[in-house]
Amino acid sequence: MRKIVVGLTIAGMVVGGVYAQQKKAQPKREEAVKPEEVMQVLKTGLSSDPRFAWKLNQDEAQKICSKYKSREEMPAKELQRVIQLSQQSIAYPQWGIYWGDWKEGQKIVDSPSGGRYASYGFSDSPTAKGGNCYACHLIEKGKPGGTMGPNLYGYGKKWGISKENMNSPEAVEKLKAVYNIVYNSWSAFPCSSMPRFGYHGNLSTNDVMNVVTYLLHPESPVNK
């Protein structure tokens, strides 16, 4: 019972901000050109290499998000739909939620590579994977990062995680809430600029678990 309350509060914390902002939602959109026509132009301008054809399948959530310049413009129905699709998509590690290896997580957080391909010179190796998190976030004190996303200094402390409570059911709920954000950011922040790392398979469930451990673990440099 207590578990559920904590879970709900956490979900509320994350999603609450979203709903509060979008009171006067109204879709703004020129209908002169149809989305299909735009997709057509996009497809003829991008390589048809069969290895990457899958990248051009726009999913329902991407379709919705393409329609609005910001979250504030989105009608509640569309917001809910994106959240719903995203929550449904979340998969967990085989053993459920656990404390992973923050050092492994750190490697993924630090690495900018993965998925960048071009025939003209510089491509990532097919197995390279990274979250490129520093492009958008400040994470460890003293390491330069971007400002597109929020500052994650002391992120585990912000969630109130300490050595003493880290194995409590509440802490595990928190681990899960952050797992959900990294696995599919749109489950908490619909249409965020933050990629849906686990959903697309850029990172595996265990990778995500390690990344979340890195963000929350009391021993991790994030929380020093």
């Binding site: 989305p35 132009v41 301008g45 990248k55 051009l56 998925g115 071009a118 971007g146 990629p195």
Partner: protein, 279 residues
């Protein structure tokens, strides 16, 4: 005088580079060491202080290449060989091709018409220095540099009253918003919003802040100190699209034209000042 000296230096470098095997054309590095970064910034500052922009070397080479490839017959919309101010009114609709084209797409079309290149040859010609750094001289980049610089001082004036141009503008505008690919990006992820953001150390321009599209596009081709070559607009599209983890961008495609129609259309009134220079 200074220009001549630069040209001579450059050519000597290119020749020496060529002799040193293809290794001289190193891959463009993603991550630079801090020392390398500092050296580049110093070199960049020096070039700015001296008012030297090596991009101008490409102008001279471009002038020759125009003759070599019969492009004095090329019509950019103001008549064959009439290049002064021509860039400023692009993209525009071309009757002979039956479509809207931007500068680079039009040059590709002219290379087919007047230099007898096949479409595949044009693609190779365009990309000859892509992904390379260190004294790579591309006649294509030179042609684009020459043609753009012939419009320096002119104000961008894309005719959005022409419904065919306006349509490409609208497609470009929506393409800019389209979320796609395994990283869910659209162009707006990085180039929209009132609030200024940085991706790592780089400050990003935004379509939502007045004047910023204009100042971003009028400096192209932009000379990049770290690669030692000028980057054309279609190369810029390709690089952003690579970062977005989309499949590779095809230069001279309608996608390129649509993006240009949107970006240059939004830049109307801004004075062309090529080449820009950046780290």
């Amino acid at each position: 005088m200074k220009k001549r000296l630069l040209l001579a230096l450059f050519t000597a470098g290119a020749v020496a580079g060529g002799l040193l095997s293809t290794k001289a054309f190193a891959q463009q590095d993603q991550e630079l060491s801090p020392e390398e970064e500092i050296r580049l910034v110093q070199e960049f500052n020096r070039m700015l202080a001296e008012g030297v922009n090596p991009g101008e070397v490409w102008y001279e080479v471009g002038k020759e290449a125009i003759k070599k490839y019969n492009l004095d017959k090329c019509d950019l919309g103001l008549g064959p060989g009439n290049f002064k101010g021509a860039m400023a009114q692009l993209p525009r609709y071309f009757q002979d091709a039956g479509k809207v084209m931007d500068l680079e797409t039009r040059v590709g079309w002219c290379l087919q018409k007047h230099a007898g290149m096949k479409p595949e040859e044009v693609q190779k010609f365009v990309k000859q220095c892509w992904g390379k750094s260190g004294n790579c001289m591309s006649e294509y980049d030179a042609i684009i540099m020459y043609l753009t610089m012939e419009s320096n001082g002119y104000k961008v004036n894309v005719n959005l009253k022409d419904p065919r141009v306006k349509k490409m503008y609208e497609i470009g505008k929506q393409a800019f918003q389209t979320r796609l690919g395994p990283w869910d990006f659209n162009c707006a992820t990085c180039h929209a919003g009132k609030q200024e953001v940085r991706i790592r150390a780089t400050r990003l321009w935004s379509v939502d802040r007045p004047g910023e599209v204009g100042s971003a596009v009028v400096i192209f081709p932009k000379y990049l100190v770290r690669w030692g070559l000028p980057m054309s607009m279609h190369y810029r599209y390709a690089e952003c699209i690579r970062q977005m983890r989309w499949p590779e961008f095809i230069p001279h495609s309608d996608l390129g034209v649509a993006l240009s129609a949107y970006l240059y259309g939004s830049a109307n009134g801004t004075e062309i000042k090529a080449p820009g220079i950046g780290r």
